[in-house]
């Protein structure tokens, strides 16, 4: 598909037709103070000098670290064939074409994506697709409000804090209400959703609940009692939105198995490298009765007038290019290229390969737990986890910073990510995947032990921790 930018002559012609002098006149209704100020860019530089400057900036990225950072974005090995197929120019139109049926290849790729994800989730309908896991989660919560015609959603504090922020943004101003369900504080289920509190809030029949949002695994890597949450929600006439990590579904029960009405999640782990700010891939799926509530593209397979297999956009009437202000969503896009990358990665691995990836990540995590325990660092929570868990580390932020200087990215400082969560002031969230090596784990344990020994000695000597550097 050819892309032709507007020429200055085109713009002049359009402005003349509108009776305007400049493009800025189009925005005259927006008060001056709300308009963006002109970009203040440096003067042009020769291309070679600019490349040097950008290479210098890129060189500041740390790619030498043994990384244990997850917290919503996960590193996985991607076979070169994924990138090789993605490089084909035919894929590089950003959006679903608006005369979609002429692009059978694009539609087939979306159909394949939807089929693969539906199999992984055990749900009937998958839409293609959304900005990221947070946006998909918010859309899932909005779906429960439309489907039940209720306006109150309960979200577990085990859901990623960024996702909860986005949920609040989506609900703000829509006349909808969002409430957080706390986590269990102590005991064998510490760190998972407080089901007793969930049941109590669901029992407020004055304000009936539309949906319950719970993550599996949750932000702290713990496995949640999803079937119980599902039963509680359904008993109150509410729907369950399961926020899932797709790779984990190779070894964990899929949302369809425990009665989730909607599943949302971040698709980045499906072969898309972690990248700051994206682009990522929002997965959103639902059961058949909710098909008209789900925003995004749905592609179906049918036969044309000659009886040949054909792919079509289906149920488009819900969508913003047809229904405008009454669309299922007006904050929805299709991340086609990322969805294609996920499809290629899943197809390249196959079901057995995917299970190996998930199982190896979990095995590495068990090794990591043992290695950290050997230097006196224990888990915060007692419950089951898959490949991510929180550990208790005194003065976690300083230790984390100290380890960066020793070649280790020691996961996430939980006090930064969830400052309002009690009992996590001195904790790191650490993660492994199949790309984590035994050497990485040994290095982490050794350096962490050394830092703690030094800071212990420093503390005894009355010096502030982390003052060594």
């Amino acid at each position: 598909m050819a892309y032709g930018p507007h020429t200055p002559a085109d713009r002049e012609q359009m402005l003349a037709a509108l009776g305007m002098d400049s493009v800025d006149d189009l925005f005259a209704d927006i008060p001056e103070r709300l308009r963006s100020s002109p970009l203040r860019l440096d003067p042009p530089e020769p291309e070679q000098l600019l490349m040097n400057r950008l290479a210098g900036l890129a060189g500041r990225n740390r790619v030498d670290l043994a990384s244990f950072l997850g917290a919503g974005a996960y590193r996985h090995f991607s076979p070169p064939l994924v990138d090789q197929i993605l490089l084909r120019g035919e894929w590089y139109t950003a959006y679903t074409p608006y005369q979609p049926e002429v692009s059978q290849g694009t539609l087939q790729s979306i159909y394949e994506y939807e089929s693969l994800i539906a199999e992984l989730l055990g749900l009937d309908v998958v839409s293609a697709s959304h900005y990221d896991g947070a946006a998909a989660t918010a859309e899932g919560a909005l779906m429960t409000c439309r489907a039940t015609q209720r306006g109150r959603v309960l979200v577990s504090r085990g859901v990623h804090p960024h996702y909860r922020d986005v949920l609040r943004t989506y609900f703000h101003g829509a006349g909808l209400h969002i409430e957080e369900i706390p986590l269990v504080g102590e005991g064998p289920t510490a760190g998972t959703t407080d089901l007793a509190e969930l049941e109590r809030r669901l029992g407020d029949t004055e304000h009936p609940v539309a949906g319950v949002v719970v993550a599996q695994p949750n932000f702290f890597g713990l496995l949640e009692p999803m079937a119980d949450a599902s039963n509680l929600a359904h008993a109150a006439g509410a729907q369950l939105v399961a926020v899932v990590e797709p790779v984990s579904l190779a070894v964990l029960a899929p949302p369809g198995a425990y009665g989730a009405d909607i599943a949302a999640g971040e698709g980045q782990a499906l072969g898309i490298p972690p990248q700051y700010g994206g682009p990522y891939l929002g997965i959103l799926a639902c059961t058949d009765p909710l098909v008209r509530q789900i925003p995004g593209r749905l592609v179906g397979m049918t036969t044309d007038v000659d009886g040949k297999r054909a792919y079509v956009m289906t149920l488009q009437a819900r969508e913003q290019h047809i229904r405008r202000e009454k669309a299922a969503s007006n904050i929805c896009t299709n991340q086609t290229l990322l969805a294609l990358a996920a499809s290629l990665w899943l197809a390249a691995l196959g079901p057995h390969g995917l299970r190996d990836v998930a199982a190896l990540g979990a095995a590495r995590a068990a090794e990591l737990e043992a290695a950290l325990a050997s230097v006196g660092v224990a888990r915060v929570h007692a419950g089951a986890y898959l490949n991510e868990f929180a550990v208790r580390v005194p003065d976690a932020a300083s230790v984390h910073n100290e380890l960066l200087g020793r070649g280790v990215l020691a996961g996430l400082v939980l006090a930064d990510a969830v400052p309002d969560e009690p009992g996590l002031a001195d904790a790191l969230l650490v993660c492994t995947t199949e790309v984590t090596t035994g050497d990485d784990i040994a290095t982490f344990a050794r350096e962490l032990g050394a830092v703690l020994a030094e800071s212990g000695a420093a503390a005894k000597a009355g010096q502030p921790v982390g003052a060594r550097a």
Binding site: Q149, R292, A317, I322, R323, K326
Partner: protein, 126 residues
């Protein structure tokens, strides 16, 4: 000919009043304009609807249209058959294709609706 015992809106909904209850649907004219109806989205029982505000959505193979309530009131019944047989809206718009029943909040609102003759005149001009 549209049934003479019903009242109509300019948006092609009909209402049948029986005591305190109003049964609401869309007219054969509306059904014909929409084409084959494939889905009807209706409110749940217990919900309030406001006169001339949207109470649901009807989706055909070619369009999605809002449904407007002829009278205000609380929804007391919904035609569940339409979930599996939306084509009833086309085949029997004034009968099996009914959509919701509401308990009439303000009977005076009925005076703002068209009678059969006025509605026929409206569709003849359309």
């Amino acid at each position: 000919m549209v049934p003479s015992d019903l009242r109509y809106t300019k948006d092609h909904e009909w209402v049948r009043v029986e005591g305190e209850t109003a049964t609401i649907g869309v007219t054969d004219f509306a059904a014909g304009q929409l084409g084959d109806v494939v889905f009807v989205d209706l409110p749940v029982v217990g919900r309030s609807v406001d006169q001339f505000a949207t109470f649901g959505v009807v989706e055909s193979v070619k369009a999605v249209s809002d449904l407007y309530a002829p009278v205000s009131g609380e929804v007391v019944d919904v035609n569940g058959n339409l979930a599996t047989k939306p084509e009833l809206v086309n085949s029997d718009p004034f009968g099996e294709g009914w959509m919701i029943r509401v308990e009439i909040g303000d009977a005076a609102q009925l005076g703002e609706l068209l009678d059969a003759a006025a509605y026929e005149k409206l569709t003849a001009e359309a």
